[in-house]
């Protein structure tokens, strides 16, 4: 249990500006290893923006200015000597819309490990692809059609393919930005079960609009509102006995 509570990511006084728009106000948050942390809150509250700060995806947007620290494994990822490409290799990301590459299922999984030099072409690569697809719970469905385009799969399968692609480079943390909002309930259930399995090995941070989902899968839940982190606690506490009035209003549907 002690390992479970160790801090993986420590966010300290994180401020983010889109040009003149102050989007995140001094966020402080510790995210734990081998847990699922859910970020909830109304649209535009900054939870996706916050998520994208954790693997420096916001660096791609020109007008963004970020202050504060995101410390992962005792290193601030915004330090000058940290390359954002290296950060993103360690902090994988799954997006709202399934976005497999327009290549075969095999290539979708194998591409990044080959580029990172994690594996070489040949049997080791085949093994890695198989292992990743098994972990993502997709192997049985696709093992006979690895050379068909990833885009030919159904939405839920595509999303699991994207997860397989992410875990193939063995990241420490997986960020998920509303990974099931484009999927039907059955696919959603599969992804949720997958997340619960994956948290044995990875730390998972998920943005979701679906509060039942947060309740079902998350160990910790953070409630964001208008760029502020209102409350961050164990999921049960947030849903049953929130400390702040705003959180309760949102949870009970009186707000939002």
């Amino acid at each position: 249990m002690s390992q479970k509570n160790s801090t993986k990511i420590s966010v300290q006084n994180l401020n983010l500006h889109y040009g003149d728009n102050h989007a995140l106000h001094g966020i402080d948050m510790d995210i734990h290893t081998n847990q699922i942390t859910a970020l909830i809150g109304p649209s535009g509250c900054g939870k996706s923006t916050f998520l994208r700060c954790l693997n420096r995806m916001n660096d791609l947007i020109k007008s963004v200015r970020i202050e504060g620290k995101v410390i992962i494994d005792n290193k601030n990822i915004y330090d000058k000597d940290v390359d954002e490409v290296a950060v993103r290799k360690r902090i994988g990301m799954v997006f709202q819309q399934p976005n497999p590459f327009p290549k075969s299922i095999y290539e979708n999984v194998a591409y990044a490990p080959l580029k990172h030099g994690i594996t070489q072409k040949g049997s080791t690569c085949d093994e890695l692809v198989e292992k990743s697809l098994i972990q993502a719970g997709l192997w049985n469905e696709v093992k006979d059609k690895l050379s068909t385009p990833g885009t030919s799969l159904s939405g839920g399968q595509q999303q699991r393919l994207c997860i397989a692609r992410t875990i193939a480079i063995s990241p420490d943390v997986i960020l998920m930005d509303e990974p099931t909002s484009a999927l039907d309930p059955i696919s959603t259930e599969k992804i949720e079960a997958l997340m619960l399995e994956l948290k044995q090995q990875y730390s998972i941070i998920i943005v979701t609009h679906n509060m039942q989902q947060a309740g079902r899968v998350a160990d910790m839940t953070a409630f964001f509102h208008l760029g502020d982190l209102i409350e961050y606690a164990e999921t049960e506490t947030i849903f049953i006995n929130p400390a702040k009035q705003k959180t309760e209003d949102y949870i009970t549907g009186r707000y939002g």
Partner: protein, 394 residues
């Protein structure tokens, strides 16, 4: 229309304004159809006219007469045939007698019944066009025709010879070869430059004043009259760098300048149409920008880039004005064998022929246009094929 009639009482869906709205839609549709029919009829008229005028050029008249090959007739080729035929056969054919003997030494000292090329005036007479032939020669031709000694053969010369001042001896080959060499230069220069520029502007460049200026200038470049590119080519490539005048090298570079903006604009559009989610996916996996662009964005944009480039190239192929300025309008009897030799291109050759007084050049011009258009159509077909072939199913 009866559907819309009636009154509120009998028909709850009755709407008096509908008749008018439907009429407007119908009028709009018929105007559009009329416009299409109008332009198609222009096209058919133009193509039909070209084919009608050009088809005769693919045949040429020959006469079967005795040709004597001796040392004397090699020196004075006119003496190889009977005096009475001298005004009707082609000077060019007689001029080539020594060449023929050289290729076939056993001809020497013999007299052969041979199909001899007739000159263009007789040829035009036989094809029923305007002609200038003396009455005496005309009688001879008619007599020979009755004996079946005059025939129309396939005009091989048109495909194997270059330009000539003797119409029956002129062909399109040097222009075709010149066009190919010129376009090769254009393609080799414009395609990589254009695609790289587009990739830089679309994927790497920051959106600041400087890139906006470059962008505006590229768009304007596409609208510059092509003859100005010719002046630029003359001033830069020939005057400044001293490249050989009239050469496919200079022509190709000049056309490359002209094609660049087209390629850049279309390649940028193709890159922009690649969904951003692909880039996000790549960055999310810790790939570098170059890896994302090279392996994921470019392959998706490739069909669009190819289409744009081929359309740019086919436009360059039909271009004449800038090439006139840099001297590619030259009289080129022999096809160029390298990009440094003097050459002409198809449209420039057509321009030259169109200005010739002899009636026989009219059919050659039309036949040349047919060739040029069929090459253009095949290029565009290729563009469509490539787009379909490499299109990624989404």
């Amino acid at each position: 229309m009866s559907n819309y009639s009636g009154s509120q009482a009998s028909n709850p869906f009755y709407d008096p304004s509908l008749n008018k709205r439907h009429f407007k839609a119908k009028a709009f549709k018929s105007f559009s159809i009329a416009a299409i029919i109008f332009s198609i009829s222009f096209l058919i008229f133009f193509l039909g006219d070209m084919v009608y005028k050009g088809l005769p050029a693919f045949q040429q008249s020959y006469i079967q007469i005795e040709v004597t090959y001796t040392e004397k007739t090699i020196a004075f080729t006119r003496k190889a045939i009977d005096r009475k035929y001298r005004k009707v056969v082609s000077r060019a054919w007689l001029r080539d007698i020594p060449k023929r003997v050289k290729a076939n030494p056993e001809l020497l000292g013999t007299t052969q019944m041979t199909w001899v090329l007739l000159n263009h005036q007789v040829d035009q007479y036989l094809k029923g066009h305007y002609y200038k032939v003396k009455a005496k020669d005309l009688k001879l031709i008619q007599a020979m025709q009755e004996q079946g000694k005059i025939e129309l053969h396939f005009n091989k010369i048109f495909f194997t010879h270059g330009d000539s001042k003797i119409p029956e001896n002129s062909g399109f080959k040097s222009a075709v070869v010149g066009s190919i060499l010129t376009l090769l230069v254009t393609m080799v220069v414009a395609f990589p430059l254009g695609v790289m520029t587009a990739v830089y502007l679309e994927e790497f460049a920051e959106d600041n004043r400087w890139t906006q200026l470059v962008e505006v200038n590229i768009n304007n470049l596409a609208a510059i009259p092509s003859i100005l590119f010719g002046l630029l080519g003359l001033a830069v490539f020939i005057a400044l760098f001293g490249m050989p005048r009239s050469s496919p090298l200079v022509g190709g570079l000049t056309l490359a300048l002209m094609t660049l903006p087209i390629i850049i604009v279309s390649a940028r559009a193709a890159l922009r149409s690649v969904p951003d989610s692909i880039r996000q996916a790549g960055y999310g996996l810790g790939l570098t920008k170059v890896q994302v662009v090279q392996d994921h964005v470019l392959p998706l944009a490739f069909p669009g880039i190819m289409t744009g480039s081929i359309i740019g190239l086919s436009q360059a192929m039909g271009e004449t004005a800038p090439l006139i300025i840099i001297g590619m309008i030259a009289f080129i009897p022999d096809a160029p064998s390298s990009i440094f030799e003097s050459a002409t291109v198809m449209p420039a050759q057509l321009f030259t022929w169109a200005g010739m007084p002899e009636r026989a050049y009219v059919e050659r011009t039309a036949a040349g246009i047919m060739l040029l258009i069929s090459v253009l159509i095949s290029l565009n077909t290729l563009a469509i094929y490539l787009r379909k072939r490499f299109e990624v199913k989404w």
